[in-house]
Amino acid sequence: MSSDTTGVLPREGVAVSGVRAALLQKRTRLGEHAYTVVRWGGAAVFAAVVVALLISVAGSSSQALTRSGVGFLWSGTWNPAAGEYGAGILVVGTLLTTAVAMVIVVPIGLGTAAFLSELAPGWLAGPLSTLIGLLAAVPSIVVGLWGLIVLTPIFANQVEPFLASMPLLGWLFRGEAYGPSVLLASVVLAVMTLPTMVALSRTALAAVPVADREAALALGATRWQAVRKAVIPAARSGIQAAVTLAVGRAMGESIAVAMVIGNRPALPTSLTAPGATLGSAIVNQFAEASPGLGTSSVIALGAVLLLLTVAVNAGGQALLRSGGGHRAGTAGALR
């Protein structure tokens, strides 16, 4: 970089006298140093936040973890009154609600993405995806409130009795229909992860070159065959990323789940039975936790949740980064 232009654009620079130019140069050099410092500073503060988060969550849960060791992860009972703390049941509850939520959201989300990207005309696809995008903006507390006040009675009186009466799958939903349940929590989670699932899979489908669709059509495939056999497989890593990130989001949601799951830290006997997840247990136990070991145990639940979600999200991000790169330059209709 030439020194005579300093920070001033040439047009102004012509009029600057020698002395002023020298002064300016000194000042801008100072400014340049300052700029470098603050830029690195911003990055450093962010990195420090990340490190501090890890350290403080680990540190605050150490009391509980040193007492129970790794056994904390799978020890089955969570009974603060008896001084028994174990994450096992809550991990199971978290995985169960997430899995059921995915059973609901993956087909619906993927079907919607396919509809938006492959089947719907442009005038419909645009507004529809904007609407679904707005769903992503709805705060989880509002979804939770809706689940609690609106869905709970519907589930208790209609949905759960109906599901229990189904011929082959009824056993999954047997028992008393309360309303608050693993199933309701999963439905709420499905609603909350739907926008992620739709947006990311739609992006993945849209990134598949038109040439792939036309190759299938030109062989005599129907439009759906082209979507099913050519487009969706080509978008696989993007769709996997969508599911993985939706899983991460579902596992980590706490407040809305706490409102509708019924909060019973025991192995659910059916999907319509109440249960608990790591997140819902943290919400519910935190205020009542006794100082010291109690609080530390609740925070240790957070540490377990952090581990789970970071692993899942890192996987999802890696998938996102790996996808798309194949056969660059074939996008767009061939003419």
């Binding site: 970089m1 232009t5 300093t6 920070g7 001033v8 654009l9 040439p10 400014g31 340049e32 700029y35 830029r39 500073g41 911003g42 990055a43 503060v45 962010f46 990195a47 501090a52 988060l53 969550v57 605050s60 619906i108 079907g111 919607t112 396919a114 509809f115 089947l119 719907a120 529809l128 995008g133 707005l134 769903l135 903006a137 709805v138 705060p139 989880s140 507390i141 409130l145 809706w146 006040i149 609106v150 609603v191 005599g220 129907t222 759906w224 989001r249 980590g252 407040i255 409102m259 997140g279 919400v283 925070i299 957070g302 949740l305 952090l306 979600t309 970071v310 999200n313 890192a314 991000q317």
Partner: protein, 287 residues
């Protein structure tokens, strides 16, 4: 390959294509119909959420609901003014913390490529997926426990941590899409990097920066879990008020929750629509 087998194969493929066509078409129609049903099912929750929040919230919503302070249970005439101002204060404070740090970190990423930047970017993406409740625990362990006090500052810190990764990535993206050629032009003219960054990049990317940050704000305003660990009283923020009142069995408390939910939802949706419109206008101008 013999001529005979080729001929028979041609007939065979022709027959199979013809025979299977009806099935293929019906399957296709069915699958397409299912996709359309899925799309309707995807829009339904939003419609239902809006419908219930508006219809239930509107019954409580009034000027006094917005400007009156909450009253103890049983005493009529209470409002949610403290929750609104509380939310505004916490989010405002969080913005003061997060915006400059995010902007600088984004400039760092914008100007650097390589392992360090990639690692930082990756951790931002992963941190963006860390459950907000963990971030609440973090703020609790870092600020509440040592100081023995719940505070708006602790809550604001939690929301700032929550927004940081979202803002960093959005800011960097904004700089990249809008300003790369401007940036290079500035460097080519011999302007120093700091000056280029300040004047050219930031000004060029400003509308996009606004969009990205608006979305991050919308996300932060709606967060509940981090506040659970950092605020002393539920009336200090809208989301917390919805949680505590909504989980009460009293109709009056639930009404307050719906009213607050409507205010919150209106604010958040307004923010995201504003962000969308800004983004749309930018992309139209760019064309």
């Amino acid at each position: 390959m013999t001529v005979a087998s080729a001929l028979s194969r041609r007939d065979l493929v022709r027959a199979a294509a013809q025979r299977s066509l009806t099935r293929r078409r019906i399957t296709g129609r069915l699958a397409q119909a299912l996709c359309a049903v899925a799309a309707v099912a995807s829009v339904a929750p939003l419609v239902a959420l809006l419908y219930y929040t508006i219809s239930r919230g509107a019954q409580v919503l009034s000027w006094s609901f917005l400007v009156n302070a909450p009253t103890p249970p049983g005493i009529p005439g209470g409002g949610i003014s403290t929750a609104i101002t509380g939310s505004a204060e916490i989010v405002g404070l969080a913005l003061v913390i997060a915006i400059p740090i995010a902007l600088l970190a984004a400039l760092f990423l914008f100007e650097r490529s390589g392992r360090l930047a990639a690692a930082l970017r990756f951790s931002a993406d992963v941190l963006a997926g860390v459950p907000s409740i963990i971030i609440g625990i973090f703020a609790y362990a870092l600020l509440v426990l040592p100081l023995h006090a719940f505070s708006n500052l602790a809550a604001a810190f939690a929301l700032a941590v929550l927004m940081l990764p979202i803002m960093i990535r959005a800011d960097e993206e904004a700089m990249r899409t809008i300003a790369l050629d401007l940036w290079e032009a500035g460097i080519a003219l011999g302007a120093r990097r700091g000056r280029v960054a300040r004047s050219v990049v930031l000004r060029g990317a400003l509308p996009d920066l606004v969009t990205g940050n608006l979305l991050a704000i919308a996300r932060a305003v709606g967060e509940t879990a981090p506040l659970l660990f950092t605020l002393a009283t539920p009336v200090a923020a809208m989301t917390l008020l919805i949680y505590t009142d909504g989980t009460q069995a009293f109709p009056i408390a639930q009404e307050t929750a719906w009213g607050t939910a409507l205010v919150l939802l209106a604010f958040v949706l307004l923010l995201s629509v504003a962000a969308k419109i800004a983004a749309w206008r930018i992309s139209r101008r760019a064309r």
